[in-house]
């Protein structure tokens, strides 16, 4: 019998409903269950007031466990934000950062999470310094692999070396499906169109994106100066050339805005999932716009899920709806419906014969 991939929802997906007061934390959990997921991913700083205090109380822990039972949910991933520049005059010391990571690992374990998402800005020695504690509390640290980063890259090599060196099974990767975009999400294009981007300029940007998908992206390299690494990455993938081209077309701010925006999406070969499956602890199933007939308009769901199936993955794919950020300036956002559709799209891809 083949491994069963499970489905989760990240409560990031319901941010617009939470923001407007339509859903509270329990309401989000109810919607997660209604959408058919059996797992839930939490951003404590999004929905738990006076973070982290309540999580340390038995009262909240019991309430959380009660909700998990009531809605038939399993805690999957706890999304941490290592606020290592919490003061504006310095970066926290290594010791302070490890202390913060251990705090977050503890919070995750208190709520029953199996993994903790850390961001690409997390210094490697902070991860290494926290591994013993991660093992102690039984929570795996997962480094988010978010566009423009990718597995099978020199950026990832350093982390693979850390895995080999430490021999730890408590560190791995959390691929974000935004690294499997065949095109710029249509809601993003429409937003820039609304802001005045011209069709001829949009076509230039879209054609260039397709070209990068066909040829393969030049991969970003490791540098904790993320701004610098990102600029080098963009130029290596044609940004300077395209900027010049748009300038010659007398393009306006919205056209350049769209061009820059296109570099926040990327395409990796789904084979990357198979190659790295032993080190994948969780997955952010990023989505931007899923149609009424369950097609994600940018992310290659069938191909990526097929790779997970082939690799024998039995962890969670966790819906992370992000389309709202392209809509909310001018249009209503329906995270509930988008999550429902995306969960169905995942289900179909997982259960395909």
């Amino acid at each position: 019998m083949s491994a069963q991939i499970k489905r989760s929802v990240s409560l990031y997906s319901y941010q617009d409903e939470y923001y407007s007061g339509k859903l509270d934390l329990e309401g989000c959990l109810a919607e997660t269950a209604k959408a058919g997921a059996t797992g839930v991913e939490l951003l404590a700083e999004e929905m738990i007031r006076q973070f982290p205090n309540p999580i340390l109380t038995e009262e909240f822990q019991e309430q959380w466990k009660g909700w998990m039972a009531k809605y038939g949910l399993t805690p999957t991933c706890y999304d941490a934000f290592l606020e290592n520049r919490i003061f504006d005059n310095r970066t926290l010391s290594l010791g302070e950062q490890v202390e913060m990571m251990e705090r977050d690992l503890k919070l995750a374990s208190l709520l029953g999470f199996q993994s903790l998402r850390t961001l690409v800005s997390t210094p490697m020695d902070v991860i290494e310094g926290s591994l013993a504690y991660a093992e102690k509390v039984g929570v795996k640290i997962g480094l988010e692999v978010h566009a423009p980063f990718s597995l099978n890259s020199t950026w990832a090599d350093g982390y693979m070396e850390l895995i080999r060196r430490s021999g730890s099974r408590y560190f791995g990767f959390i691929p974000d499906m935004g690294i499997f975009c065949r095109r710029v999400p249509d809601v993003v294009t429409d937003k820039w169109r609304r802001m005045g981007a011209r069709e001829d300029c949009i076509a230039v940007v879209d054609d260039a994106y397709c070209g990068r998908v066909e040829k393969g992206f030049v991969k970003i390299r490791y540098d904790l100066n993320l701004g610098k690494a990102n600029m080098e990455y963009r130029n290596a993938n044609g940004l300077a050339v395209l900027t010049e081209q748009l300038q010659k077309m007398n393009a306006g701010p919205a056209d350049f805005g769209y061009l820059n925006s296109s570099y926040t999406y990327s395409w990796s070969d789904p084979q990357d999932i198979i190659d790295n499956i032993d080190h994948i602890v969780h997955c952010h199933a990023k989505c931007y716009n899923t149609t009424a007939d369950y097609r994600e308009t940018a992310v290659a769901i069938p191909e990526v899920v097929a790779a997970y199936r082939k690799a024998g993955y039995d962890g969670y794919l966790s819906t992370e709806y992000e389309g709202g950020e392209s809509l909310r300036d001018a249009l209503p956002v329906d995270g509930i419906e988008q999550v429902r559709r995306h969960q169905e799209a995942l289900r179909r891809a997982i259960e395909v014969q």
């Binding site: 939470y18 923001y19 951003l43 700083e45 504006d88």
Partner: protein
């Protein structure tokens, strides 16, 4: 259909102290997806009808406490986070406040999440009326 609501439409008012109008205030929500410690706020730039007010005249209130923007730099207590989805109150000290009638506000929330190579600087615009 309009986009999301940022400002509390009922929140615009002049602020009086000891019988004098010492400024005006408004309430708005953070344009981000999680609550934050006040220490990662780098600035709140307030412009009304084209006039930008000095940073030292801006006050931020959450959970019943009021801070200057110099003070928020060191506020890390869980008690005083700007919670996601909650209105925070901004008070701008300016003698006489705003005139009765229609106005336009443009505010920039400058926030620096540690993991981002850049700051968030969402511009928040609205028309409002002072009675």
């Amino acid at each position: 259909m309009a986009g999301r609501q940022i400002y509390d439409p009922e929140g615009f008012r002049n602020v009086e102290k000891d019988g004098k109008t010492e400024g005006f205030s408004f309430r708005f929500k953070l344009q981000y997806y999680r609550g934050i410690t006040l220490s990662i706020i780098r600035d709140i730039k307030v412009t009304v009808d084209g006039k930008t007010y000095p940073r030292e005249d801006v006050r931020l209130s959450v959970n019943g406490e009021t801070f200057t923007l110099e003070e928020t730099r060191t506020v890390i207590s869980p008690l005083y986070r700007w919670e996601f989805g909650d209105f925070a109150t901004v008070t701008v000290l300016t003698e006489g406040g705003l005139s009765a009638g229609k106005h336009h506000i443009s505010t920039v929330q400058v926030v620096a999440p540690s993991y981002m190579p850049f700051q968030l600087e969402p511009v928040c615009e609205a028309d409002f009326e002072i009675n």
